[in-house]
């Protein structure tokens, strides 16, 4: 699966860079959105069929919110550690880390509030984070704690990486991933402006 994912992404990047003219980029957003919607229809069917998941989720209750909390804290702390290595101030690195993979929003927010260069850094970092998620979800599920697939996805685990998580880790993880993704997505527009102003 990892191999197929890697090849698909590389083919896509190559096509986008060399083959497809820039004029088509306006259609690309709607194409990916509709494709994603179609995929999530399939994920939804899977989730609906597995009724026992909802029972186990009810048992976990509010404790399940500890998962996005852990993902969020880990992401910001990890980015600050990385920032220390490359000599970035804490406000920049923490805000970049608080993008949680939502590259479009975190990039734009930081570019508007702070600086274009840090905005580009946030954009790039979070694009790469999404790529890392696509590539490592199958491996993380096999070799690490099963919740790692949700950590990898960050905010994207409610949309773009959800079909992959559902396919690799099953419906139970998909439900938790969706909830975690929604929580983190809601946190991005609050946390990024807060941290960049530190």
């Amino acid at each position: 699966m990892t191999f197929v994912i890697l090849i698909s992404i590389i083919c896509g990047i190559g096509l986008g860079y060399w083959v497809i003219p820039d004029a088509y980029s306006i259609y690309l957003d709607s194409v990916t959105t509709y494709m994603l919607a179609l995929l999530l229809l399939g994920v939804g069917i899977d989730l609906g069929r597995n009724r026992e998941i909802w029972r186990s989720l009810r048992e976990l209750g509010c404790r399940i919110l500890l998962v996005p909390f852990g993902v969020g804290v880990g992401s910001v702390v990890g980015a600050v550690c990385g920032g220390v290595i490359v000599g970035l101030p804490i406000n920049e690195s923490s805000a970049v880390g608080a993008g949680f993979g939502w590259y479009s929003l975190s990039g734009v927010l930081i570019a508007q509030i702070y600086s274009a260069e840090t905005g580009t850094l946030a954009f790039l970092t979070n694009v790469l984070r999404e790529l890392l998620a696509f590539i490592f979800v199958p491996l993380a599920y096999r070799y690490l704690n099963k919740y790692s697939v949700i950590a990898l996805g960050g905010a994207t685990s409610m949309d773009t990486t959800l079909p992959l998580i559902s396919r690799v880790a099953g419906s139970e993880m998909a439900v938790i991933a969706f909830l975690s993704g929604v929580t983190l997505t809601a946190a991005v527009p609050i946390l990024v402006p807060l941290l960049i102003r530190l």
């Binding site: 992404i9 896509g12 994920v43 939804g44 976990l60 993902v71 804290v73 880990g74 790692s148 950590a151």
Partner: protein, 106 residues
């Protein structure tokens, strides 16, 4: 954004009430895999067509890669710690549930 939530809900209703016969399970699975690959390709196109990403890779690529990797590692460590706490409690609970079941059987 709304489209995503709506389609997920429609799918859920279809699945919950078994509207699609289970004979078609394999068809649905193949369909999901194919569209997942198509989605990955179009995500790739989105990255490739936006030349700011490739042109900034030289200047900011190293810092961006490092931050992406460290933030992912940080989240994995924290979530593993949290899940150990959540899971331990969960295991205790399901073990209790099992003993209850055995009692009920007796």
């Amino acid at each position: 954004m709304w489209l995503i939530v709506v389609t997920l809900c429609i799918g859920f209703i279809i699945g919950y009430f078994n509207i699609i016969p289970s004979k078609l399970n394999k068809v649905v699975a193949n369909f999901t895999t194919t569209s997942l690959i198509l989605l990955l390709i179009s995500m790739g196109i989105k990255i490739g067509i936006d030349h700011t990403v490739i042109s900034n890779l030289g200047k900011l690529g190293l810092a961006a890669s490092l931050l992406a990797v460290t933030s992912v590692i940080g989240s994995i460590i924290c979530v593993t710690a949290v899940s150990k706490l959540v899971l331990e409690k969960d295991n205790n609970r399901s073990m209790k549930g099992e003993t209850d079941d055995i009692r009920n059987l007796n």
